[in-house]
């Protein structure tokens, strides 16, 4: 087994990986940019090395610097987390050349799955259902329009090198295709340095359902069930759960879906942990979307229903161990959900909200799991992803998970910066969400903090707020007076108050 692992990442996922290493008795090496010297992932590691300036291009994306630290510190393996270099085949290859084990799939699998058109080809050849589309990137807008006319609108334009919703455009009618083509190309070029765009038939009101797979380096495969990730904003997942409310009632669909995922992973020549993403329409027809060749943000929900530590399995597989689970040896139990807590202000259009976390109180008690990269007193830097914590809940049933999350959200306090906690409080009250009737458009169409009708808290709660404010004001005035050595001013207990309210459901 490895004695030392370098974690080529930051934030909650670096902390998450370090936790498992620590439990396995493996020494951990953190790397950090200038903006992250005081970050939690540095503090919980055994060793820590600076790798450059704040922008990721100067630090977390610098392959040579990271490998240099790995060599100097004696790392035997590197865990890439998600994002940054995790799906960069050149990094995987550079690790191999440097004699350091990359904890992830072979570079070849990353490379072929990274080119979306190539991945589609492989899957179609292997008999995995794919959405009808151009076989590879369209030459120009005319070829895209020709395909759209043949298949019928709406269609989806997608960056071939894409991911995370960048370089993606829905086109509803012929008149919009030229503009959308230019936008998709422009975004793709900016995000991936590659403006190749291909066309797919658009699945209406699709659900995003994915399957977690594990494969060892000896060619054994197992799936760990599906995850429903349809709740998205700007193509970014925001809440995930397992089992999928749609799939749950259809054992036959689940069987076919999970078999297709294993087939896809085999076709990709996969090893280690990976996720096969599918689009699913209302009739439960599913189509291969892409394969994520790394650990997913939302992996904890699978851990909660299976009891399996996915990071531990990743490390064991990378160390050459055989899979520890037979295909029918995994027990699934209950339901789990994850809320991604972002440093974003839902009342201001989800604007980023970096800054100092003045107060942090985490929820606790039965069925709650928190993975955070934040600590009280720490300043969330503005250079990176705004994900500061993941709140997960497990319970025997979906309804109980929702009740538990609702309870946990009342306990969860982040002071000093805006977060999406309040957004989740509202989301959990949404009848469509509660019924499991969700698709990837739910948050954009029927629901947003801006458009949803929000109510002020009831009168008594408002009064409580006022009283606390008066008290605080009185206290601060007293303190200020004392500091200045003046006599305490006469404070009128019946001070007048002005109140403006926004956001939040009524109790």
């Amino acid at each position: 087994m490895f004695r030392k692992i370098l974690i080529a990442n930051r934030g909650e996922i670096a902390v998450r990986v370090i936790r498992t290493c620590r439990e396995m008795g493996i020494r951990t090496i953190a790397v950090y940019s200038e903006a992250d010297r005081t970050a939690k992932h540095v503090r919980v590691a055994d060793e820590a090395f600076a790798i450059g300036a704040a922008p990721a291009t100067e630090s977390y994306l610098r392959i040579e610097r990271i490998l240099d630290v790995a060599r100097r510190a004696g790392a035997e393996a590197i865990h890439p987390g998600y994002g940054f270099l995790s799906e960069n085949p050149d990094f995987a290859e550079a690790c191999a050349r440097g004699g350091i084990k990359f904890i992830g799939p072979p570079a070849q699998a990353i490379r072929s799955m990274g080119i979306k058109t190539r991945a589609r080809e492989i899957m179609a050849a292997a008999g995995v259902p794919v959405v009808p589309g151009t076989p590879s990137a369209a030459r120009d807008v005319e070829e895209a329009a020709a395909f759209a006319n043949k298949t019928g609108y709406p269609v989806m334009l997608k960056a071939a090198a894409g991911g995370g919703g960048k370089g993606m455009r829905l086109v509803e009618s012929p008149k919009d295709i030229a503009g959308a083509w230019a936008q998709a190309q422009g975004e793709a070029r900016q995000a991936f340095g590659d403006d190749a765009v291909y066309v797919e038939k658009a699945i209406l009101r699709p659900r995003h359902v994915e399957v977690q797979v594990l494969a060892d380096e000896g060619g054994n495969f197992v799936h760990l069930g599906e995850r429903e990730c349809s709740l998205q904003r700007r193509h970014q997942k925001i809440l995930e759960e397992t089992p999928s409310p749609l799939v749950e009632g259809n054992p036959r669909v689940r069987r076919d879906l999970c078999r297709a995922a294993i087939k896809a992973a085999r076709a990709a020549g996969y090893a280690n942990a990976g996720t096969v993403e599918f689009l699913m329409d209302a009739e439960c027809r599913f189509y291969f979307l892409e394969m994520n060749t790394r650990l997913q943000v939302e992996h904890p929900v699978t851990e909660l229903v299976t009891g399996i530590d996915l990071v531990k399995e990743q490390i064991l597989i990378a160390a050459g161990k055989k899979l520890r689970f037979a295909p029918d040896g995994i027990r699934f139990s209950g339901h789990a959900m994850e809320c991604r807590v972002y440093a974003e202000d839902p009342r201001a259009g989800f604007l980023p909200s970096p800054g100092r976390i003045a107060r942090l109180a985490l929820p606790e008690g039965p069925g709650i799991r928190v993975d955070s990269g934040a600590e009280e007193g720490w300043t969330v830097p503005l250079e990176y992803d705004p994900l500061i914590a993941k709140l997960c809940a497990w319970a025997p049933t979906r309804d109980e998970v929702i009740a538990r999350l609702r309870r946990a959200l009342q306990e969860f306090v982040v002071g000093g910066i805006a977060t999406t906690l309040g957004f989740f409080k509202q989301l959990l009250e949404d009848p469509r969400f509660q019924a499991g009737d969700i698709d990837t458009g739910l948050l954009e169409q029927g629901f947003s903090m801006g458009t949803v009708k929000t109510a002020l808290p009831r009168d008594e709660a408002r009064l409580a707020a006022m009283l606390a404010a008066v008290q605080a004001s009185r206290d601060s005035q007293r303190n200020a007076s004392e500091l200045r050595g003046q006599r305490a001013s006469r404070w009128k207990a019946h001070a007048r108050l002005s109140i403006a309210g926004h956001g939040g459901p009524s109790r």
Binding site: A343, E344, D345, R347, A348, G349, L351, P352, S353, P354, G355, A358, R359, L382, E383, Y384, D385, P386, L409, Q410, V413, G415, G416, G422, K425, L456, P457, R458, E460, A461, R462, L463, A464, A465, M466, L467, A468, A469, V470, Q471, A472, S473, D475, S476, Q477, S489, W491, K492, A495, R496, L497, S498, I499, A500, G501, H502, G503, G504, P505, R507
Partner: protein, 134 residues
Amino acid sequence: MKTDVADLGAGNYSVILDGNQYTVHLSPTGDAEYEVAVDGCVLAIKVLDPRSLAQRRPGSADSGTHEVRAPMPGKVVAVHVSVGDNVGREQGLVVVEAMKMQNELRSPKQGRVAAVRAKPGDSVTAGETLVVVD
């Protein structure tokens, strides 16, 4: 009504009103001004001291000039207007990036650009004025 306020420290208060308990989180946003969270809702509250009331000047809210400020700290990646440009309501003026997200700041009204105080590449803090629209 029986009221009881207890200071829990760090801006937290427990308020009991006739037995009903509320936990209130206060963040000061100015002199005697607070952002107050209660019941999962956020209220903006200003405590008006009778003395300070006397000193307040009549409001000058509607002067016609609007300052477009950075809503968050970040980096300016694009400036779409110059001084003297006529702009429409909701027209994009400046793009600021933070945490891998780009945000376009729009004009709050129809008018003329009176000042541009940012250029691409600038780092800005929250609340910094980037464009003034007359």
